[in-house]
Symmetry: C2
Subunit: 303 residues, 2 copies
Amino acid sequence: MTAETTAIGVDWGTSSFRAFRFAADGEMLEGRRAQAGILAIDAGEFEDAFEELIGDWLDAAPDVPVVLSGMIGSRQGWLETPYLPCPAAVDDIAGALVPLTLARGRVIRLAPGLSVRADDGIPDVMRGEEVQILGAVDLIGSATATVCLPGTHSKWARVESRRVTSFSTHMTGEVFDVLRRHSILGRGIEHAAWDEEAFLEGVTRSGAEGGLLHHLFGVRAAGLFGDLAPEGAGAFLSGLVIGHEIRAAAPVDTVYLVGEEELVRLYREALRVLGHQGEAVAAHAAACGLFLIADSLGRGGGR
Amino acid sequence: MTAETTAIGVDWGTSSFRAFRFAADGEMLEGRRAQAGILAIDAGEFEDAFEELIGDWLDAAPDVPVVLSGMIGSRQGWLETPYLPCPAAVDDIAGALVPLTLARGRVIRLAPGLSVRADDGIPDVMRGEEVQILGAVDLIGSATATVCLPGTHSKWARVESRRVTSFSTHMTGEVFDVLRRHSILGRGIEHAAWDEEAFLEGVTRSGAEGGLLHHLFGVRAAGLFGDLAPEGAGAFLSGLVIGHEIRAAAPVDTVYLVGEEELVRLYREALRVLGHQGEAVAAHAAACGLFLIADSLGRGGGR
């Protein structure tokens, strides 16, 4: 290690583990990735896995803050941390980190999740995405923004004055997957195929009369009439649910997208079709957010 | 048989077989039901099954019209019949019946389905429900009505001057079932339980901001916070999707409901919560519709 490590950050989610070590100015000195998501690890085995994955970093930088975010702080993770109600900024998260002492005596800190309640009292939650969102806002250099993390459970967040003021989760990816695998729609879908035009048609269709439950049946009916080939049906369905998500989220300004490259591309296309603007954020939003929290902690924000 | 049979009608769907024989005035002389839906019968075995189920009726009434409706006329059924475009009345259906000659020489007639196209060209289809809808309209004695058949694929039809002028299918029942069995929501649902209050809360929630894909995640988030018990989560989810269906269908007058008693009760409740009026139609709407078609055929409507 040439530059000195001043902080270690870990984004430990359901299906993946990503660790970063940072220099004092926030520069990422090294990143490490593993398919060691929390679902792949038995309860009681988290510390062993953690030591195996970045024990050498802990040895080499014995005094720097170590911050973990993501589903590692859930009931199914290492230690359940609370949900911090919105609005929440980096300093609020740093102030709510939950310490955990390793067998070697080292203290590491797990981030809380965020929660928000709709006007009718129904809650929404996130764990890990808040770190990416606050990192993204720092990367784009704007204190106010709409940030979207598309995926299995897409997150849409509103950030004002560098605080997450509200957010909503949409089960878009999971609904798409469950429908194509387990509903009658799957029979008309050639799963390996992709048809970009059909995707865009699905996005457009999301604005027609009748709502999502009706539009879903249209995938089948259009297939029966030969209007939609099996090679395009999966893409049409994808466009339909993504279109419904975007219409429901109703963005009022540029949507900053954080996520896997191809999915971000699809959301940018869908946003364009619906008259909105989407911009991809550099992929290291999680790393940036983790550094900001560790840095806040170092400046006393978390004391 | 005391009164003379003048027509035989069969509603042969995916999961059930229902046959009726009628007197000249439309009175149902006898009904017969079997779990012999088309999915339970191998291709090539339909005639044997048909003879077994009502061969004695055919023997006893050798000259009366025999009309079949439902999925029996689909690609997976006995003989594929076309879809008749809306608007369509009883006489139109009678005129589009597809004859099929049995081994015994008897001619029976399969009803077409109905189709409609949205403004953007996406089609919708039904097979069998059109007979129930036209039967229901006759039973309620109104030439103009909104008719809803709730279920796996709910149908909403607009009838004007005794013609089905438009309709829409909503995958409500199937989406509910697939989500509770195959999505993450299933983990928070006690499947055997029902909570009427939670159902009504789900209906109300359907009108909140954020759209269906967001509201679905609320089932999980409310469960995490203990706001929604597993005993109520299934009912809440049911109310949510039914509420979204009704809001999308946006009825402008009384909704006449045809279907299984408990489901009709739930839709009436949901309609009431959303400020609409629902009325149950007597369960023999299919029989009534089949008689009307056979009667039209007898009067030359189908010649």
